[in-house]
C-alpha cells in the first residue's frame, strides 16, 4: 500500500520539484506536504508527492547502530 522511493531534488519551483531517482531518471514530485524542502534535499516520494525529507546520515547512523547492537 505504500511504495515510496527516495529521490534527490534537482530543482524546485513553487510546489513542483524535479527529482532524480537514480541514474538520471527524473520525475516531477509535488511538494504540497513538504513546504520547507529545497534543491539538494532528498525526499521520499509516493504517488507523485513527497511525503518526507530524508537525511542520508540517518541511514548511515541506523546501520552503525545496528552493527553495534548485533556485532560486526
Amino acid at each position: 500500500m505504500c511504495l515510496a522511493v527516495p529521490g534527490l531534488i534537482v530543482k524546485i519551483e513553487g510546489n513542483r520539484a524535479e527529482a532524480d531517482f537514480g541514474g538520471g531518471v527524473l520525475r516531477t514530485a509535488l511538494m504540497d506536504f513538504m513546504p520547507g524542502a529545497k534543491a539538494g534535499d532528498y525526499i521520499l516520494v509516493h504517488a507523485g508527492y513527497a511525503i518526507q525529507i530524508l537525511n542520508p546520515s540517518d541511514a548511515k547512523a541506523l546501520i552503525t547502530d545496528l552493527k553495534e547492537i548485533y556485532g560486526s
Partner: protein, 375 residues
C-alpha cells in the same frame, strides 16, 4: 543522483536473523506476527526473508492491500463507471486485473471500448482506461480533455489519501468541472481494532512504515492500551524488517506493549501534519465496508459536503450492483491472518495470477500472489 539509501548488508542481516532465532528459543513457543502492510508482504517475499526466520515464527499477512480489502461492491462500482460513455477511468496499475462480480477493468478495456492502441477509441462506448502513476496525472488528463469526464479510482490507505486530496484541491483551484474521484480510501487503525476484537491469535504487529510516516505513532496506541499487543513501525529494507521482527520478539518476552518506532529516519512521532491537514480539508472519516471485516466505524474517508462536486458516487447514476463474493475464495480469511494462502483449496490450482478467483491473487500486493511467485 539519489544514493542507495540503505545498502544491503548481508552479514548484518544474517546476524539479526541469528538473534531472532535466539530470542525465539527463549520464548519457547510458536509466535505469529502480522505484517499489516501489503508492501511489507511483498518486501518480505521478494527479499526472501522467510527463509531467514525460524520455523516456529509465522508471519501472516494483514488487511494491507487496498484492493484486497475493498468490498466487492466498491470494485463493481468502479467497473460500472468504467463502462459509462464519455468517461476516462484513471487508476493505479494495481487495480487493473482485479475481478468484480461480472468482469474486470482489463476485460472492459479489451471488450467494451477497445484497447486504446487499436485505432481511435470511441468515447461513446466507455472502456477508456489509463494507468497513471499519480492522481495529479489524472488532473492533467482532465484538463487536457474538457469534453470527457475523468474518474480516478481512489484506492489506498493513509499514505495515498493526502495525494488524492491534494489533487482534488488542485482541480478545484484550476476550475475543472470534469474531474472526479471514486473514494475507496481506508484507514488502518480501525482495521487493527476489528482484527483484535475477533478471535485472532496475533502476538505482534509489524506496522506499515509509510502509513505511519503520515499518521505518526499516536493512532496505534490502542494496541497498547486496549489490547496489550506489541507493535513496531518498520521500514522496508531487509535489515529494517528483521530488526523490527526481533524487537517484536523482545517485546513479547518482556511484555512491553508500547508502540515502537523502528523507522525513525522516515517516521516522525507526529507524522506529517501538512499532509494530514490537506486530507482533513477534503475528506472526513466515514463508516466503510471491508472485505471480510464488514462495516467498520470511521474506517474510511468520504468527501466533505463542499467537495461533493468531485465525488463520483454523487455525480453518476449507478445501476443496482448485484455484488457476489467469488465462489470458494478465502481471501477474507487470508487478509485477516486466519488462513495462509496455501490453506486455500484453490491456491495454485484454479486460482493463479493469470486466472485469479479473488483479489489476493491478482493484486500486485496480494498475499496469495506473493506466496505464489516467491514461495
Amino acid at each position: 543522483m539519489a544514493p542507495d539509501f540503505l545498502p544491503s548488508d548481508t552479514p548484518l542481516a544474517a546476524r539479526i536473523s541469528k538473534a531472532i532465532a535466539d530470542t525465539m528459543q527463549k520464548i519457547g513457543r510458536p509466535v505469529t506476527l502480522m505484517e499489516v502492510c501489503g508492501t511489507h508482504t511483498m518486501a518480505i517475499a521478494k527479499q526472501g526473508l522467510r527463509a531467514m526466520l525460524p520455523a516456529k515464527l509465522r508471519l501472516v499477512s494483514g488487511p494491507g492491500c487496498p484492493v484486497c480489502v475493498s468490498a466487492q461492491e466498491d470494485i463493481d462500482r468502479a467497473l460500472a463507471l468504467a463502462q459509462e460513455p464519455g468517461v476516462i477511468i484513471t487508476t493505479f496499475g494495481d487495480m487493473l486485473k482485479v475481478k468484480g462480480t461480472e468482469t474486470s477493468l482489463e476485460s472492459i478495456r479489451e471488450h467494451v471500448g477497445r484497447a486504446p492502441r487499436l485505432g481511435s477509441l470511441d468515447p461513446r462506448l466507455g472502456g477508456d482506461l489509463r494507468i497513471v502513476y499519480s492522481p495529479a496525472d489524472a488532473v492533467e488528463i482532465a484538463a487536457a480533455n474538457p469534453d470527457r469526464k475523468i474518474i480516478f479510482l481512489g484506492a489506498g490507505f493513509e499514505t495515498t489519501a493526502p495525494a488524492i486530496a491534494a489533487s482534488v484541491l488542485d482541480a478545484q483551484r484550476r476550475g475543472l468541472k470534469n474531474f472526479y474521484i471514486l473514494p475507496m480510501l481506508k484507514l488502518v487503525p480501525p482495521a487493527l481494532r476489528a482484527l483484535l476484537d475477533t478471535e485472532n491469535k496475533i502476538d505482534g504487529f509489524l506496522l506499515p512504515g509509510h502509513v505511519s510516516a503520515i499518521i505518526g505513532e499516536a493512532p496505534y496506541r490502542l494496541l497498547e492500551t486496549d489490547y496489550k499487543v506489541p507493535s513496531v513501525i518498520a521500514g522496508f529494507e531487509a535489515a529494517e524488517i528483521l530488526r523490527a521482527v526481533h524487537r517484536l520478539l523482545e517485546k513479547i518476552l518482556s511484555r512491553d506493549y508500547k508502540v515502537e518506532n523502528a523507522y525513525s529516519r522516515v517516521v516522525h512521532a507526529d507524522g506529517n501534519p501538512a499532509a494530514n491537514a490537506i486530507t482533513a480539508r477534503v475528506f472526513e472519516p466515514a463508516d466503510a465496508k471491508w472485505r471480510a471485516l464488514g462495516i467498520l466505524k470511521n474506517s474510511g474517508l468520504a468527501f466533505r459536503k463542499e467537495f461533493q462536486a468531485f465525488d463520483a458516487t454523487a455525480n453518476f447514476a449507478l445501476p443496482n450492483l448485484n455484488s457476489r463474493e467469488p465462489q470458494g475464495c478465502i481471501c477474507g480469511l487470508v487478509i485477516t491472518g486466519r488462513a495462509q494462502p496455501s490453506d486455500c483449496p484453490l491456491f495454485g490450482k484454479t486460482c493463479t495470477p493469470a486466472d485469479a478467483v479473488g483479489p489476493c491473487m491478482v493484486s500486485s500486493e496480494g498475499a496469495c500472489a506473493a506466496r505464489y511467485y516467491y514461495g
